[in-house]
């Protein structure tokens, strides 16, 4: 402890109301004249504000942060959410601060990771009652989860852990085994979505550690490895930041979302839905975005034809995150093997878009035929009342949607008889 810290600690420990008055008396100074940069309306903006949008909706263009306290169940505006005819959306669980990626355990537990608050949750149903348990705390951005053979895999920023036999030990999770710590420690785009593929390998992305830069050889990629962390290899490059992927139930090909760069313009570039058809493919970052847009900084002398093009564009700055193929039977036939994609919602755009769940319908050859809205209503008056992060197909065919803004999970079901009315 430094001397300064010691003094401060003592001060904090011992301060009484009596000393406060003395401190504030010492604090009184003549008010300094307001400095020049707070310019009046008739003056030109100071040089540091050039290019900053002046309309009110743009007065703050910053990453949107969820409150660090989950929204109370009775304050969550489920009635604002809309789903297609015949579907119903209901609040399924609340109080899960910063709820992000979801995975289903063999015994029906829904596991939920977080990006900002260090927690992992388990949602269990016991005697018809749903209960949220905080099973892990103090982890470093435990955003990514996978589940296999009774074990929960948790991806921190740079380490992956395995908790064996977790569903029988939710109240007292076992000591985890380290799967791998062979990942960079960069904070930007360092949080991870993970998944275990049909090849029984663990897939782990490493994002580009910046908005837009030339990635080191270790970044802007997706890797896979054996479930014990051995045999790590890079399977995709030029991936800026994927926070959601899944495998086609029939072709077993990997599909993944990827977030485009910020600050080019309001409408460029779009986020991508990509398909890996060959190990080692390059998806463009940072040279080409959205398949046809050469980057203004790194695109010189390059061509977008050098790179694999996306199978679909998901809108500028929409932050397309979690996605799953629909393998259930509850929804109408047209949704079978379609992809549900959670779009977190734009921050780097004055008019907010995304903040919804869309569904991508596929052709027989694996290309995308159309993308339609599915769950909407999270944007009210150009701001968010919730932000979808991940989707999860339940055993009964209903679809869960996590919301890291409200700290909640919604359930979407089809057909009146299946709905558990609130």
């Amino acid at each position: 402890m430094t001397m300064g810290t010691l003094v401060l600690r003592l001060l904090l420990a011992c301060t009484t109301a009596a000393s406060v008055g003395v401190l504030s008396a010492a604090a009184q100074q003549p008010a300094a004249p307001a400095a020049a940069p707070a310019a009046g309306a008739s003056q030109p903006p100071p040089s540091w504000a050039v290019g900053r949008p002046e309309i009110e909706a743009a007065q703050k263009l910053a990453p949107v942060a969820p409150p660090p306290i989950p929204i109370a169940a009775d304050k969550i505006q489920v009635d604002k959410l809309k789903v297609p005819q015949g579907f119903t959306v209901e609040l399924w669980a609340s109080g899960l601060n910063n709820a992000r990626s979801m995975r289903l355990g063999d015994k029906g537990t829904v596991f939920v990771g977080t990006r900002l608050v260090g927690n992992v949750y388990a949602v269990v149903e016991k005697n018809g009652k749903r209960e949220v348990k905080t099973i892990l705390t103090g982890l470093h951005r435990p955003n990514g989860l996978a589940f296999k053979d009774g074990a929960l895999y948790v991806a921190e920023l740079s380490k992956i852990w395995k908790y064996e036999n977790i569903e029988d030990n939710l109240d007292n999770p076992p000591q985890p085994k380290l799967v791998s710590d062979q990942f960079p420690t960069d904070e930007p785009h360092g949080w991870k979505f993970i998944g275990i593929g049909p090849d029984n390998k663990l897939y782990v992305p490493v994002g580009n550690p910046c908005n837009n830069c030339l990635p080191p050889d270790t970044h802007a990629q997706i890797r896979r490895m054996n479930l014990d962390g051995s045999g790590m290899e890079v399977i995709a490059r030029g991936v800026r930041n994927t926070v959601g992927f899944d495998w086609h139930p029939v072709t077993k090909e990997l599909y993944f979302t990827d977030n485009g760069r910020d600050w080019v313009s309001e409408d460029l570039p779009a986020d991508e839905l990509n398909r890996l058809t060959k190990v080692g493919q390059h998806f463009g970052t940072p040279f080409c975005y959205q398949g046809d847009f050469l980057d203004p900084e790194f695109g010189w002398g390059r061509s977008c034809d050098e790179f694999v093009k996306p199978v679909a564009l998901l809108g500028p700055h929409t932050a397309a995150l979690g996605m799953r193929f629909y393998t259930g039977t509850m929804f109408p036939r047209q949704y079978r093997n379609a992809i549900f994609i959670a779009r977190h919602g734009a921050w780097n755009r004055t008019k907010k878009i995304g903040g919804d769940v869309v569904v991508a319908q596929l052709n027989r050859d694996g290309t995308v035929s159309k993308i339609e809205p599915f769950l909407t209503g999270f944007i009210q008056n150009n701001s968010y009342i919730g932000r979808p992060v991940d989707v999860l197909v339940m055993k009964d065919g209903s679809l869960l949607v996590s919301d890291d803004y409200a700290g909640a999970i919604y359930r979407i079901s089809y057909g009146a008889s299946r709905v558990s009315r609130r």
Binding site: R9, A34, S47
Partner: protein, 192 residues
Amino acid sequence: MGRLGIPILALALALAGAGASFAQTFEERLSQCLACHGERGQSEIPEVPSLGGQPAMYVLIELFMFRQNLRTAPPMNDMTAGLSDADLQKFADAIAKLPPPQPAEGADPARMARAQALVQQHRCAFCHNNFAGADNVPRLAAQREDYLLKALREYKAGTRREYQPVMAEVMAALKDEDLVDLAHFLAHVGAP
């Protein structure tokens, strides 16, 4: 007396009052916060930030980070230990009502000019709302220069954990001399 004199004086007075009953009410606990951070929103203690004019949500986020030990700053981790979510919200709301601090005097024109170029290049004013802050983004205008430099250096070194990792990326492109100029600039600007 200079800057060092104030904490020593305060410490002496605080120790003199050490026999007083342990603060229990919200107002008494808040006055403990303000003893260091400044009763009128303006800190007089080196490397202790002024809290005046900070957005309630930003204050809430930092209090939460301290309580969860996600951000390490020993006095604050101790001060927030055991507080409920509702407590954190109440402190955040009260602190957000403090008046904004006043810019320091005696700006160095050359350093201000260098910093302005950096501010434009890195779009500081976009997120920081012309330095008044908003929602989750802190007010920077008229913050203490020594605290700003400490915070910027901690972001650069990766020793200050962020709620959302945003500053880590901005810092990658900045040199220490840039941070010195930026801290000087921000301490000397006003904001609405």
